[in-house]
Amino acid sequence: MWLDPANPQLNKNGELHHLLTLEGLPAEILWQILDTAKSFVGVTQREVKKVPLLRGKSIFNLFFEPSTRTRTTFEIAAKRLSADVINLAINVSSQTKGESVLDTVANLAAMNADMFVVRHAASGAPHLIARHVAPEIHVINAGDGRHAHPTQGLLDMFTIRHYKKDFSKLRVAIVGDILHSRVARSQIHALTTLGCPEIRVIGPKTLLPSHVENLGVHVYHEMRKGLKDVDVVMMLRLQNERMQGPLLPSAQEFYKYYGLTEDKLALARPDAIVLHPGPMNRGVEIDSSVADGRQSVILPQVTFGIAIRMAVMSILAGN
């Protein structure tokens, strides 16, 4: 199987073979995924929520890092495509016995896997697996380290498109712990490719990667300035483990300066929407009244996430 060395997700026809990152993917492929997902939203609203596309295929959810929502939505997506799904939480199994990632994958491939959905704490783990699997096997990155979370980025784009229709006039703010966030990276790449003219990142200096402006984003340290007149507010989760480190004084202080409250949100456009990838820390990065408020689209994100994962799986398996 020939894969493009510059972008090992693409086959010789320029079609998606693996989904590892949104960085460098042509806009045409992103639009194809978003359009296909729209058709799958219709399927998930029917009496029978299944289509027969992946009947007889075996999809392995390989989660080397715990996750509930992402694993569940991948599982539901695969089942609605009529695939057989096998869930493996590897942190509690072979890895503790000393087996290497590639050995684990080789063993599962020998059980006739057609697709691996991989979540791993190490950036690049899905790339490593994609390089070593047989040519007919597809790999989807379900979040690797600080690197990428492409299906989350795609479902966020689907959500924005659903409510705002057009990316070409949008002002979007991404708020919080950008430094550790694979979600933020995927969002920035996707927004840029889809033609969003103004992307702002808002966070304390300690939680912004150095030279983040090289990604073409505008940097703000003051939330009240950064949220002024934005159309979309994308909140990030503040990972609890960061609060113990030297990067932040306390969760209370973070909430005071960067928590999304109603009065801060009032600075954005009146029709601005609020996204959050979950799981939320209420009272840390977002106030409950905003999370449950009229501008929140956090639960629709989850619903759209299933359609996006159905679209990605069915496009990959067909290429």
């Binding site: 359009d35 296909t36 729209k38 596309l53 069915s314 067909g318």
Partner: protein
């Protein structure tokens, strides 16, 4: 191009409408298959003055050539805005050929419910069936030269016309 000239799509549509008029009732559900079938179904729906809103189907998720050629690039949304359960339905397509599209459409319809009956309306039948499928309402039977495909086109005024093209993906 060899063979007889293609019939006029507008005349075929008129013949199809006349055939269907005595056979459909106010509760009949009409469902067009994307893309050409939807164009025809829209005209039939208007001219037959049907009360039940028009349904549309994109059978991409049910096709049997997915393993061979993958997912279609431009998947449209299926929309059945009425109860399928217990209803008499008419599926509408532009060109009836192998019958595989109709098989896929029927499979999809059954995921919405169990219809009382399904009949098929097609503008043209070009032969070459690979499945036991027949149209109950038909504009014309035509012969298409080998390695050619027949397609329905719609111009900016909504006028329909048949066109012959070299074979690419015959579905």
């Amino acid at each position: 191009m060899p063979g007889t000239p293609l019939p006029d799509a507008e005349q075929l549509l008129k013949a199809l409408t006349d055939q269907m008029r005595p056979e459909v009732g106010p509760e009949t559900g009409l469902i067009g298959i994307h893309t050409g079938g939807v164009w025809i179904a829209q005209r039939l729906h208007r001219d037959l003055k049907l009360k039940v809103p028009l349904g549309t189907l994109d059978v991409s998720f049910y096709r049997d050539d997915y393993e061979k050629i993958g997912l279609h690039r431009d998947v449209k949304t299926s929309d059945i805005p009425f109860e399928v359960e217990g209803r008499h339905l008419v599926l509408v397509d532009d060109v009836l050929y192998t019958g595989r599209t109709i098989r896929a459409a029927m499979n999809e319809l059954f995921d919405y419910g169990r219809p009382a009956s399904i009949r098929l309306a097609a503008l043209v039948d070009r032969g070459g069936r690979e499945l036991p499928v027949a149209a109950q309402f038909l504009g014309a039977t035509i012969t298409v030269p080998p390695n050619h495909n027949i397609e329905l086109k719609r111009d900016s005024n909504g006028r329909l016309a048949l066109a012959l093209s070299g074979d690419e993906h015959v579905a």
